[in-house]
Point group: C2
Chain length 374, copies 2
DNA sequence: GCTCGTGCTGCAAAGGTTTGCAGCGAAGAA
DNA sequence: TTCTTCGCTGCAAACCTTTGCAGCACGAGC
């Protein structure tokens, strides 16, 4: 039913190539012809078929964004930032959700592969080797994971976890639990590694709880375990789990931060709305989205080898840089002195100004994170 | 760089049509040939180009889902449900976010048009006539809006608003504010209409505040207005605004529900986490997602007229049914007796069992909503 | 021995677009 | 007048698949 270029050509009495040029290279066609063609096109409701165009140009002007769980409020700022950046470069973003499922992830990459010029793989659950394999089918930038030979943008959660543990140590905590995230998460491994090292060097004991689904429910489900383990502080894989845990502890009659201190990771908007407000490791989510788009599109303007047109797609011959963005501990109300440590609570911290206050959420802070190697 | 069907044909010494059949109609090719072809394909990492396939079959097996604001927690359950339903039918869902912007919305429909078999337009901000226009380019199902001649699925927010107002009237409130949502929202109009009627027939005064952006910030920004207006209860366009408003009132020293009662709409997960827990109109979000996918794909199995292949796409000749799903008032802790009304608070309601307790979030409750007309 | 059916494969058109090249007419230069 | 140049347009190949039709070889039935 929709009109094709041929219909427009017929209606305006010119060759299809002239119609094509009317849209993609207007300066090459006689003004009079142009207006006539445009009129006919308007009349017939003609829109160039982007799929057909992509078939020959090798450019779709779309990018795919694959997300582990769209319901996790961690992602929307990243998505929005990516979309904004893409829009500047005249690209559209298609988002797909994998439900934390590795095989769905792979399937979606294939589904998207030829409809986009590249894919942003955000917090992938696939194995590294599988990522490498799919990256041969379509240009990929990985977010929240380092995989050798591929362009990546990660947050320095190691540093964040270290700061969190040090913060807890400073409050007198010596028995700390790490509420682990999902299996297959790079972030999870990094946090575990860094938190373990920091605890050890601070003379504290670190109990590992997990893996768990990275959701409120996943956090809440471990409340009983936390109580039984007798720890006085918990570092959670993310804010959602931290919030769920606080709820769970509450139902068990444990108060936060009086009985147990809780630290999250991500600094989602929600962490400012719950009571107590959450102490958390802020990650530059928006900056990550922007950076990833830039990396994917960095060779966009380069002339592409014509002939065979067969899409040496965007980002081909890309320098496989790896970028690490800085994180920052934001101290709010969910952490306090360890019970029985004799310390008193440092006055109502709650985001007062000071070294820990976060400058500009998702702003340049993170974007300046140094590029690393390769 | 990626292998094409031609490469596989060359490598396995058969014609490309045989390779094609190996994938799309295996029973038509000799088992020996088949294994040889499959081996070569595997070897070369060949994947059929879905864009090229779509060009000729007229089916992409993708559906587009256009969302006003992906950061609004109202949408993820709908997205997830749509994805699940689509997956059953062997479809993938591509999500796009419009940032509440009508023109971005239109642009995205065009970007998606030829890459998907149909589009779910969720809470559109476009004008009805524009929706009608784009629906000529690609099959569309509209969610959260009724537009004549197009298949729609809406929630009965009118009924919900009525229940909410009646609930407030029952608590003795006589001066109520309606915290309006974004311009161009069908839901907003429905709520206003129904709430206005209910208030009038209950002898209450309804103050309109808005339009506002449907976010926490948008809600919080009206806190001062709410105080000044002297109302004792507020019905907000959605939960996010309700929560933002509660925060804002809190900062002005007004307590909820002691000083002001607040009701939201949507019953997002967050509304159970804030203090006080939010009284709200639960909408069957997941059911809406599922239903919309079903409506879009209902003629999927029908044989398609071959010849010209030009995609009398999915859902063509669709019966343009309009479905309305039921809503339900969920009473939690953000509503109480009007100050000075002499009434006392009915004991700790908070989701106890009873007529208002919600059965199964997004479950069959809503899915059974009756089909209506046309 | 001939016909027919069956099982497999090749041929070529079709789908909607872009783009290098060639052609054409007119205007300007020699 | 003849040769260029220039501005515009048409031609046809190419992108990667799918699919109706035809062709081929072979075995069975008469």
């Amino acid at each position: 039913m929709p009109a094709t270029i041929r219909d427009v050509a017929r209606a305006s009495g010119v060759h299809i190539s002239t119609v094509s040029r009317t849209f993609s290279a207007p300066h090459l066609v006689n003004p009079e012809t142009r207006v006539r063609v445009l009129a006919c096109a308007e009349d017939l409701g003609y829109r160039p078929n982007r799929a057909a165009r992509a078939l020959i140009t090798g450019r779709t002007h779309n990018i795919g964004l694959i997300i582990a769980d769209i319901a996790n409020p961690f992602f929307p700022p990243l998505i929005k930032a990516a979309e904004g950046q893409a829009r500047h470069r005249d690209y559209h973003v298609f988002v797909a959700d994998t439900n934390e499922d590795a095989s769905a992830e792979e399937e979606l990459v294939h589904a998207l592969a030829k409809q986009v010029d590249g894919v942003l793989l955000c917090s992938p659950r696939m194995s590294n080797s599988l990522i490498e394999q799919v990256s041969r089918e379509v240009p990929v930038v990985v977010i929240n994971r380092q995989v050798a030979g591929l362009p990546c943008v990660v947050m320095d959660v190691g540093q964040g976890a270290r700061s969190a543990i040090e913060h807890l140590l400073g409050l007198g905590h010596r028995r700390i639990a790490l509420l682990g995230g999902p299996r297959g998460s790079w972030t999870n491994r990094e946090i575990r590694r860094a938190a373990g090292a920091a605890a050890r060097s601070g003379g504290a004991e670190l109990t590992l709880l997990g893996p768990n689904p990275p959701t409120e429910t996943g956090g809440g489900a471990q409340a009983e375990q936390v109580r039984r383990s007798g720890v006085t502080a918990v570092l959670a894989y993310n804010d959602l789990m931290a919030i769920g845990l606080i709820e769970g502890l509450d139902q068990l009659g444990l108060r936060v931060p009086e009985d147990v201190s809780v630290v999250g990771v991500d600094d989602i908007a929600l962490s400012r709305l719950t009571r107590p407000k959450l102490t958390t490791v802020a990650t530059p989510t928006a900056a990550a989205g922007r950076t990833a788009v830039d990396m994917l599109l960095q060779h966009d303007s380069e002339p592409r080898p014509r002939g065979g047109g067969r899409a040496a797609a965007v980002g081909d011959r890309r320098t496989t840089a790896q970028v690490m963005l800085q994180t920052e501990l934001v101290i709010r109300d969910s952490t306090g002195p360890a019970p029985g440590s004799g310390r008193t609570r440092p006055g109502g911290t709650s985001e007062g100004p000071g070294p820990h206050r976060r400058a500009d959420p998702g702003g340049p802070t993170g974007a300046t994170g140094g590029a690393v190697a390769s």
